[in-house]
Symmetry: C2
Subunit: 526 residues, 2 copies
């Protein structure tokens, strides 16, 4: 009678599930309170998974060095090529091609900080980047937004702002990864001004500036400075803004990206160098080859940050996945994706620099596929030792859509990971020998002193997961996780309040944005 079948059935009976009723969800909805984990600095106490051995890491390194020595990179900006030439790279006259000697690369890699603090305007929200710290951010750069009731629509300011409000409200999210959705209803010449001003007023966490021409980077840096109320000199001491630099794979650095490195690194701000090396398309069809190319591109870009300014903070970004060779569709959250993420982590640790990964999926809706692909990607990132998780919450459709409901489900997953990373206490009290003696064979632990002293905080309480029994769940209308997530995000928006902001800072910010708009923003012919 004590087979798993019977135990499971028993666990569903009134004996061991005394209060398995509608209560939990009803409480959450009635109170309007979000029961979530507090803001926390996360550390990963576990040994990252190693997919390949040290000798194989050395082979990837060696191949990437031969790529930079024998093939080189196309560097599509004259100023950048000039800096590279001065730094010792072999620039071919009358060409974009630059070759890098491995000793040159490794000499510049040596000055990248192993860890640094990334400052938020609220110092409680400063981030530690590197070592075994990890930080979670939002989806970024989706051209579309979607919600269960509103469907899928082109990115717009209303949705953009609502994503920022959710990000600010969810303690598990440490930073805004970029524009969660691209507000295409704002003119491109001034979009960055409005969007970054929103990052400062609707949130008080770390944010990102796109590298789309020097002036946008300069405006972003100025907004970060104003937001923190500090001097230009202080800003150069304190990394306070980050930018994602994607190579244009294979082996090419576009002008806006190069300008982004030059602007950001010169001011000691954070560059995250992330090649977008999809195996079979922009990179070799083999993971080892795609990773060798990723490594060549990443190291060339990161070395360039040090050519611009020794010691400027930089992060190794891994984004290698593959395309479906039948359709050309990019694959995310697959076994190859996870392997590539974890090998990327090994490479970043090999160079002793922080590692950025992502929580990504290819699903078109918030279904089982979205969840298993994202959970796979998340394990790839976390047990790859990521220090900085881009696209941590809300990513759908290979990045073409930001979903409000997916953001809630991801927040639940990220909270689970945070609890997983807390480790397990093993000491006399937790080993509970006295409680076992008290209860004895055949008893139960519901009412024991050991349980009563601990039950409220004992276990993770999910945001989304519905643990009611089937009958109660069915009576409630058989809600899916998608529907729970929908209710939850609306509830959060309903109770959102903007973080405090000093009046002088707000005025300086408004003045700056107004002035820059009067000046016409930026040219949009890049």
């Amino acid at each position: 009678m004590s087979q798993e079948q019977d135990l499971s059935a028993e666990a569903g009976s009134s004996k061991t599930r005394p209060r398995r009723t509608k209560q939990r969800h009803a409480e959450t909805q009635a109170s309007g309170q979000l029961h979530q984990l507090p803001w926390q600095t996360l550390k990963n106490p576990y040994q990252p998974i190693e997919i390949i051995n040290a000798e194989q890491i050395e082979l990837i390194h060696d191949t990437s060095m031969r790529i930079l020595e024998e093939v080189g990179m196309d560097v599509l900006d004259e100023d950048a090529r000039e800096l590279m030439a001065k730094a010792g790279a072999k620039v071919t006259a009358g060409s974009h091609r630059v070759h890098f000697d491995r000793h040159l690369i490794m000499d510049y890699m040596a000055s990248v900080p192993e860890s640094f603090t990334l400052h938020a305007r609220n110092p409680d929200h400063n981030l530690h980047i590197g070592k075994n710290f990890t930080n979670f951010g939002t989806v970024a750069s989706a051209p579309n937004a979607s919600s269960l009731d509103g469907g899928r629509r082109a990115g717009n300011q209303t949705d953009y702002r609502n994503f920022l409000r959710l990000m600010q409200s969810l303690n598990i999210l440490h930073f805004t990864g970029g524009y969660p959705v691209e507000p295409v209803d704002l003119h491109a010449s001034v979009r960055h001004l409005d969007c970054l001003a929103d990052c400062v007023t609707l949130t008080d966490k770390v944010f990102h500036a796109y590298s789309l021409g020097r002036q946008r980077n300069r405006d972003g840096i100025e907004i970060a400075r104003i937001a923190r109320g500090i001097s230009h000199e202080q800003l150069e001491q304190d990394p306070s803004l980050f930018t994602i630099i994607n190579t244009s794979s294979p082996l090419r650095l576009d002008q806006p990206m190069l300008q982004g490195i030059m602007e950001m690194s010169a001011r000691n701000q954070v560059v995250m160098l992330t090649p977008f090396t999809l195996a079979g398309a922009m990179a070799p069809v083999t993971l080892a080859g795609a990773l060798a190319q990723q490594n060549a591109e990443a190291l060339a870009g990161i070395a360039f940050t040090q050519m611009v300014r020794r010691g400027a903070p930089a992060v190794y970004g891994g984004f290698t996945s593959n395309v479906d060779m039948k359709s050309g569709a990019p694959a995310f959250g697959t076994p190859e994706y996870v392997q590539a993420a974890q090998i990327s982590g090994q490479l970043a640790r090999h160079y002793k620099i922080p590692f950025r990964s992502s929580n990504v999926c290819a699903a078109n809706t918030v279904d089982a596929q979205a969840a298993y692909e994202s959970t796979m990607a998340l394990w790839g990132a976390i047990m790859g030792g990521t220090n900085f998780l881009m696209h941590g919450a809300g990513w759908l459709e290979g990045g073409l859509c930001a979903s409000f409901e997916k953001m809630m489900i991801d927040a639940d997953l990220l909270q689970m990971m945070a609890v997983y990373l807390q480790g397990v206490t093993v000491d006399e009290a937790s080993l509970a020998l006295e409680a076992v003696k008290d209860v004895g064979p055949g008893g139960h632990y519901f009412g024991t002193a050991h349980t009563i002293a601990r039950y409220k905080q004992a276990f993770y309480a999910p945001l989304i997961s519905d643990w009611r029994n089937f009958e109660t769940w069915q009576e409630a209308g058989s809600p899916t996780a998608y529907e729970h997530a929908h209710r939850l995000y609306q509830q959060i928006l309903h109770t959102y309040e903007p973080p405090a902001l000093d009046v002088a800072i707000r005025e300086e910010l408004e003045d700056f944005v107004a002035r820059r708009k009067r000046e016409g923003g930026v040219a949009t012919d890049f």
Copy 2:
């Protein structure tokens, strides 16, 4: 222009997704062929995750030994107590209580084999249990079945048989974990005869016999012997059947379970000892305490297998999770579940015996929750170093329901894990330096010789995941993973063919079942 946003958008354009059309799914459906991975023996090449250190493992071990020494177990069978007394345990006269000295336990633990072969009637489907081998099985013992069209219904023979057919058809499933669903339309006195005969005729893989009274075990062993066409003596050389033994936590072994150990271990068949220690209910509210109790119960049961027969194969089962302390509902696939699974793996390796874990969730439907809870549990199991994954495919509702669609989604997940466990080749050809040289900066790899030679087998091709772009997916009716899984399981059932079975074996099996039915099967008053 090469921000992630733009790269993603670009990847969706005709340039890099040249054939992202309806083609892939259409092909699959039209051909009626299931494109799946071949049957394979899986090894986990990675270092399992260690949640706690060696000293903490020793503390859990020590506490569990003190539980067995100072509290003891209730052993609800007189024959078992007699055997234990003869073996050196302290049996209290006139009581069920048995105390075990730690040296006694560890002496018996020392004779448990570190690994063994579990024989199937088709020798190609023999399983290696232990070391770093891993094996995946079906859901077991669900009282209900469900499908998207038929809804949720009480377990029945038709559904039972269809689950067996799916199990046989899916190469990634190595064994039947028990009755995937309990066919309650068969009388309990003869149910095991019909069900186990089905395991032999509808499948040729390893199967399980429930420990629900000595006669059922004996019938199961005889059916396993007949299926393999071997002598009684040979059967005692070859483990060919397994049984799950659950303790009745806390600290109690029921009569049918004890009889199961006595019958199975005496014949050198496999006992998987799995306490069902839900923290906060049948075990202390702390994970360390629940695991100490799990360890005490597991080791008492496993030591008993060795008291019955030295060297009999036994497996350490970990099933510790927790209940939601507000509702009493069991939680699965949570951070605590994953931690407990991985610590259980550490304990099993500490004793150098094989480790069994599970793929479980609490969700009521095949939604995002079902997927993320299962994927979490799966990572807990795989990176906990599991050798034997129970409930690997089809589990829903905390085990109260077996879902056809969930079985398909889990099969996709298990295939992904199998590819993940294959590791990554790093050698001159895969490092692809010549291909990188050929393509050069700014090119693409679609038509290169390196790609053409490899693209067909390069990457995992999923069973379920829909990678079409949003527009094509929407035109196709916006199918969810649940719907894809529904079509897929029906397609497999449509093309299922039973495995070959020797006529003499079939006749002997039918004769045995008929005779045992004439004898009335087994008493059902246990």
